[in-house]
Amino acid sequence: MPIDSVFNAEGLFISGTIVLAIGLVLALVVHIVNIHKVHRLMGILQRKTVSKPNLYKEMTVSQGTNFTALSFSSWILLFVAIAFLYLLVPTVLPFSYMDEAELASNPMGFFIFGSVIGLIAAIVIFFMDKLPEDRRELRLTELYSFYSISKGSKMMIGLTIVFLWVSILLSAYLGTIYPEESITVELACLGLLLVSTGILVMPIYKEAWEARR
């Protein structure tokens, strides 16, 4: 990508999308690396091989019911917000919800679209929870159980619901004006998504940062 195009509005949108994708994938990798490091460290300290189920049992920290429920909602909302930004109107992808004109013009079309995406995300998260005990690091439902999260961080994670809802609202606005476009609103949506994603994966990066120190 030429450097000049990065700084125009469309370039910013594409760059932001790449950052979002990298941020999420990198968080997954860093999370796995974090767990692996702890596992190795425990083996060294105890001078014996520690099984992964035992490691997870020792590592797990209770984060509270309300926070956990909020974090689940935040993650589902994150996937819905991503779908609203990228699938509601054609932005990066050539197809969109607007191709289904009958549904798009339905009075409850946005609710139907968001609900379907939300339910799919919930089902995927739910079934990921059924992964084997030695693969618990891949369970999104237990992501925050492996990290110590401050009250402030919890509040921030809770606050992502607001950011993401605003992002969805702005995406819905883009849907209502389609085929007109508003790159400003698209960038605002993307910004809110980036901020929310950053907050949601912040404990992972924070742990990795602290471990490095």
Partner: protein, 509 residues
């Protein structure tokens, strides 16, 4: 036979003498060089065809008397006069009935019997001749003779035959009646006809005599559409079926009669057997002045031989032309509730019509629209009394378009139950491009709040439900140690209501 044998022996002797007397020195088959071949004197020389011919040519000049003698010896008389037997050639027909229709397939055969030995036989030329009804002379069917070669006779019976494929039936005849068929034969010397033979027994004949008949065409399934009262310029069609067993080209004439049974006009079609159709508009059978009149019709037809002058005998009734208005239609327009031309907006259409005659008639107007290349969609039908004063027909507040029409140019059409001044029964106009916008709501519309707020609530509830189902919050530690399962079982046993569970959930910090 003796003469033949003597002849061959003489030729053989002559060949031997010629070889010794006048033949040039010939090379032996084994010799390869010029000098090597001369050493075998006293042995027999091999005769080639070329050397024999050369010898004869030389002999013709040097010994003309001997040459004449040789020619006399070799000459074979082309006609073996007294022993040659005339071949017998007869017509053969294996059909049971000699009364045949024109299109009936026939198999006319000529059988030749030649009892001469092969070397005495001569090639026969056959000509088939037909005498048509009313004619006093035979016409030759084949311009080139059908040849029977000397070697094609059956070895046991000495017979051969010819099936005359060029005369498969008498469909070509223009008249029917008695048809005679014979064959003329020539062996190069003699000429004779099959009619020369007398007292022949079937299936052999000296001449075939057929009584050829014609099948009369038959008409059926008479119909005039549409039935009932029609307008003079409606697509009126006279239909029927005509059959002819001979498959002839037929002339079918439709006769149209007025109310007094007087023929107004007629039209003729030259067709093959099958459906018959006369379209009134194509021939301009009826004019505006015929409104209010009743007509009838009948057909006449022929196959070139037989003629049917009236079918059905009692003329068919119809069509009955009804009176109607002489419409003048103009100014077909549309309007939209806004200049945005969104698909969801209401559109209005109007057209102006009047009757050019003084009466008033009920006329049905049907509005249809289509977007792009889609099918016409009927929007509304209105029946309005149209008199001499111009009347505007309105189609107000219609919603003719669907979301899939967005972004396409629309067309609108009003169809009327009568014909207008141009002879058409509809008027069509091009509208404008429908706005591309798909979603008919604004972000601040109540419906959008109804969409997005429940969505937020639903997702929050899904999060709560998942947490309560998976118990990942407070019991994360216990989950792995198996306590959560025990607790879960205990909870199930306690039999708490759903309301209690929700209240509990909300109380938790």
């Amino acid at each position: 036979m003796n003469r033949k044998l003597i002849c061959i022996l003489v030729i053989f002797a002559f060949l031997l003498s010629v070889q010794n007397v006048v033949g040039p020195a010939t090379k032996s088959a084994g010799s390869s060089g010029g000098s090597g071949g001369g050493g075998g004197g006293g042995g027999s020389k091999q005769v080639t065809l070329e050397s024999l011919l050369k010898s004869i040519q030389d002999g013709k000049k040097s010994k003309p008397a001997k040459f004449e003698e040789l020619r006399t010896l070799l000459w074979k008389d082309p006609i073996t006069s007294e022993e040659y037997k005339m071949p017998t050639v007869l017509m053969k027909y294996e059909g049971n009935n000699t009364t045949v229709s024109r299109n009936q397939p026939l198999e006319i055969i000529t059988v030749a019997t030649n009892n001469n030995p092969l070397e005495m036989r001569r090639m026969l030329d056959l000509y088939l001749e037909v005498k048509e009804p009313g004619s006093d002379k035979y016409e030759r069917i084949n311009s080139w003779p059908e040849k029977i070669q000397t070697n094609e006779y059956n070895e046991e019976t000495n017979t051969t035959l010819r099936i005359w494929g060029m005369l498969p039936s008498f469909a070509y005849l223009k008249n029917v009646g008695v048809v005679k068929v014979r064959a003329n034969i020539s062996d190069g010397v003699n000429k004779w006809s099959t009619t020369d033979y007398k007292d022949i027994e079937p299936p052999f004949y000296s001449e075939l005599v057929f009584n050829v008949t014609n099948s009369l065409p038959v008409m059926s399934n008479f119909n005039i559409t549409p039935s009932g009262l029609v307008r003079y310029n409606d697509p009126i069609e006279y239909k029927a079926d005509i059959a002819d067993a001979d498959g002839d080209m037929l002339n079918v004439t439709l006769h149209i009669l007025d109310e007094n049974g007087i023929e107004l006009r007629n039209e003729t079609l030259n067709i093959k057997p099958g459906p018959v159709s006369f379209k009134a508009n194509e021939y301009g059978f009826f004019k505006e002045a015929d409104a209010g009149k009743n007509f009838s019709c009948y057909y006449s037809y022929d196959d070139g031989i037989d003629f049917v002058s009236k079918d059905p005998v009692e003329p068919l009734k119809g069509p009955d032309i009804r009176k109607g208005p002489k419409l003048s239609v103009e100014k077909l327009e549309f309007s939209s509730s806004s200049e945005n031309y969104y698909w969801w907006e209401s559109y209005g259409f109007k057209v102006r019509a009047k009757n050019l005659n003084p009466e008033g008639y009920d006329v049905a107007f049907t509005l249809s629209t289509r977007a792009g290349n889609n099918e016409w969609n009927t929007v509304e039908t209105k029946t309005v009394k149209i008199g001499p004063e111009p009347t505007e027909i309105y189609f107000n507040k219609t919603n003719p378009f669907k979301v899939t029409d967005a972004g396409q140019t629309f067309y609108y059409r009003v169809k009327y139950s009568e014909y207008d001044q141009t002879g058409k029964d509809s008027m069509e106009q091009t509208g404008t491009k429908i706005n591309d916008k798909v979603v008919p709501y604004k972000i601040y519309d109540g419906i959008m709040i109804l969409n997005l707020l429940p969505l937020l609530i639903l997702i929050t509830l899904i999060g709560l439900f998942m947490e309560r189902t998976l118990k990942k919050g407070e019991e994360a530690h216990e989950h792995s140690s198996g306590k959560s399962r025990e607790q879960g079982k205990a909870q199930k046993k306690s039999g708490k209501s759903i309301a209690d569970s929700i209240a509990n959930l909300l109380r938790r910090g």
